[in-house]
Amino acid sequence: MKQTYRMILALCLPLLLCGQAWAAHSGPYAGVFLGANALMTATCNDSLGEFYLRFNPGLLGSAVVGWDFEPGNPAGEGRIELEYSHRINRLDQARFADGVAPAGGNLTADSMLVNFYGVFHGEGRSWSPYAGAGLGAARIETSDLTVTGGPLSSDSALVFAYQLGLGIDYALTNRLSLDLGYRFFSSTRPKFSEFNGPAFKMDYLNHSVVLGLRVGF
């Protein structure tokens, strides 16, 4: 993880410091992102009590289509976009009153959000920081979650989702830009049925780092 982070810095810093300044794009755009995500240890509750699920870091892929507002727009400088994301994390361990048990299976989250980002353009530079938020829905699925080989849950739930994001755009050309960003993604608590047991609710709190390309039209 640390090595990857250093590589990203090594690639990006020269661009940030030495790049050529391009005019800010306005109009429609599309983009794709790839990244890593870390799902926070989830607090779960059912009629038997409280337990915890810990997940491994996983991958994140997303695609966006949106509209860049032109610089000087009275509504503000920024963009609005529709984002589809797919996050996946493998269940690593579960902790019950009896102790920690090895666990398996995947938890996936497919989300559709409308994002609003404010972009802070600067004179004579190609990079622009941005920050914003998004609202939408997510379908979160427990795919064959097991605890010590015993089945826990295989179910899905549709929940309200939201996202906070920030990052840096780097304009490679007038139409093409590189985006390095951080996303905090969360949802209302999804409820999943358990095998031969009660249903449980769990937290979903996710941190992601993404790298993407956006193309303007």
């Binding site: 926070m40 009590g49 810990r54 951080y182």
Partner: protein
């Protein structure tokens, strides 16, 4: 550099989600059960006895759990040993001598336990503990141990029949269940004394068998807990708020074994954690606060210590009070004294009753307390002495003045309002009369408190007690009467006429009304004006019954002699209510 900071922040947030937190409460019912083991106190039991088996489940090597009540118990030789006790499904009983394999089955897993039933017979039973003593309301678990003909011993607590020789002292349980037999307890109406607890094994139809016994002594109830309360504490407000220089009365209630309670205020040792705020309460539970702050009050008796009650003292620290001026009082009469304390930040209130008053030579005069803040100095004999006022606390302020008791001759006395004016009252309300005496040395003095007042028709108007503004005359019913007055050897020549009218009350209101802000520690005066159907308005401030909803927020320090006077105590909101003639009027008090 800024980008590096952003990256560091992101990494820190990422790492924050990696640890366990909280405490899990849900049992793991998902990990598969992989094996069962059975254990018991004995693998050989005597015929007619029983033993409880314990089944322990091993879950994939991760943890174990007692599953005795979840497994299915079976025996391959049910005539030798079998599970026949419904109240204790895991307890096996030896029925006839021989061997049996006992099995526990659950979730496709099973385990066996080899049990032998011997033909040994009980030769003695020992009951332990021997001759214990308990207090009324408590319990004692007895154990019966049997010695058998083959030299073995076995716990017979479950299998024995338990009896008590004196059930008015204690009873002993034979209820089914693993932890019920041999449990001695005292009934709710039990008395102190002794009883013999006997365990009998092997009796047939109540006869025969082998017995053992122990004498149980039941003593008087013992104190188990102490609860400390004040008039302003409740379940939702366990820690009261009061003003500085105020008196607080704590009550200690003891709860004894058996559930009885008793007021033990004068038996406990009282402790205040911060004696600068309030000294240790005395044997009656009373303490007087000195400065702002908090102190924890506890009561203890023997080894039992009460809950901690935090006393919150507000209302400022006394900065000063006026220097006493020299006073003169005529022998045989009384004059009121009043002191207002300055607490800084504009906070001032009457502290007359909070001060300690001392007469250097008590043969000349004394000080009597009429109500919280109404004190009277009474001349007892001619002469000069000093009077000293001291504020509470280790650093109390002191003021001293000369007090002279004179003995002039009484020339005359007058009342106000004079007989020529009289009093006009509405039934149910009151008016005031004052009296002034004139002496041979040219002095005069308010002697309202010393005059003997009387009504010639108490069905029309009655005479009350002297307050700070005069003698209280209350109208009872329509009519006229006269009020007489006598002082010394003089009688008022012309009694004061009083006319009483009966009117129908339309409404009355507290002034100021609505929501009133009251500063903690400061006095705010409220008045009440009644409006009658004929349009008459009457000040009934002294005639209503005053009350505040929460004494932790605001109090009426002296409703008898300072009616309508409210002092804020601590932040909050409460009601001030005036009740009169079956009606109430309310304003909201808000203490910032």
């Amino acid at each position: 550099m800024r980008n590096l900071l952003w990256s560091g922040l992101v990494m820190a947030v990422l790492l924050s989600g990696c640890g366990w937190s909280g405490s899990a409460s849900r049992p793991n019912t998902i990990t598969p059960l992989t094996s069962i083991t059975i254990s018991a106190a004995y693998s050989t039991i005597a015929q007619g006895t029983s033993v409880k088996l314990t089944a322990t489940g091993n879950y994939s090597g991760l943890f174990t759990r007692d599953i005795s009540d979840q497994v299915v118990w079976t025996s391959n030789a049910t005539t030798v040993a079998n599970f026949v006790i419904a109240a204790s499904p895991s307890r096996v009983t030896g029925l006839t001598p021989g061997s049996a394999v006992l099995t526990a089955t659950m979730g496709g897993m099973s385990a066996n336990f080899n049990m032998t039933v011997s033909s040994a017979t009980a030769t003695s039973v020992t009951v332990t503990p021997a001759n214990p003593s308990i207090a009324l309301g408590l319990t004692q678990q007895f154990t019966a141990t049997g010695a058998f003909s083959d030299g073995t011993t076995q716990d017979l607590t479950f299998d024995a029949t338990w009896t008590s020789s004196n059930t008015t002292v204690a009873t002993v349980s034979n209820a089914a269940g693993d932890n019920n037999g041999g449990l001695a307890s005292t009934p709710s109406n039990a008395v102190s004394g002794t009883t013999t607890i006997t365990a009998t094994f092997g009796a047939v139809n109540g006869a025969g068998g082998v017995s053992g016994s122990s004498v149980l002594t039941v003593t008087a109830p013992v104190l188990q807990s102490i609860a400390v309360t004040t008039p302003n504490t409740s379940a939702t407000t366990p820690n009261p708020s009061v003003l500085s220089l105020s008196t607080v009365t704590f009550t200690a209630t003891g709860t004894y074994s058996g559930g009885t309670t008793n007021d033990i205020t004068n038996q406990v040792t009282w402790t205040s954690s911060n004696t600068n705020v309030a000294p240790n309460p005395d044997s009656t539970g009373v303490t007087q606060t000195t400065t702002q702050g908090t102190t924890n009050i506890t009561a203890s008796l023997g080894t039992v210590v009460s809950n901690t009650t935090t006393l919150n003292v507000n209302g400022g620290n006394l900065a000063s009070f006026p220097v006493l001026t020299n006073m003169t009082v005529v022998n045989g009469t009384s004059v009121p004294i009043s002191v207002t304390g300055n607490f800084g930040n504009g906070i001032a209130r009457d502290i007359t009753g909070a001060l300690k008053w001392t007469i250097a030579n008590p043969t000349f005069a004394n000080v009597t307390t009429v109500s919280t803040n109404r004190l009277l100095i009474r001349g007892l004999a001619p002469g000069t002495t000093t009077i000293t006022a001291t504020s509470p606390g280790s650093a109390g302020q002191i003021s001293t003045a000369f007090l002279t008791v004179t003995n002039p001759g009484l020339s005359t006395f007058t009342v106000s309002p004079p007989p020529s004016t009289g009093l006009a009252l509405t039934a149910g309300t009151s008016g005031r009369l004052t009296a002034t005496a004139y002496f041979s040395d040219g002095t005069n003095q308010d002697v309202t408190a010393n005059v003997t007042w009387g009504s010639n028709a108490t069905a029309v108007a009655t005479v009350g007690t002297a307050g700070p503004t005069g003698e209280r005359i209350t109208g009872v019913a329509t009519g006229t009467t006269t009020i007489t007055a006598a002082f010394g050897n003089l009688i008022l020549t012309n009694p004061v006429p009083v006319s009483v009218s009966t009117r129908t009350l339309r409404s009355f209101t507290i002034i100021p009304s609505g929501t009133v802000s009251v500063v903690a520690g400061n006095q705010t005066l409220f008045t009440v004006t009644a409006t009658y159907n004929d349009g008459t308005t009457v000040d009934i401030t002294s005639d209503v019954a005053w009350a505040t909803g929460d004494g932790n927020v605001a109090i009426l320090p002296d409703p008898q002699n300072q009616p309508g006077q409210v002092v804020g105590v601590s932040s909050g909101t409460t009601n001030l209510t005036a009740s009169f003639n079956g009606q109430t009027s309310t304003v909201t008090l808000k203490v910032p």
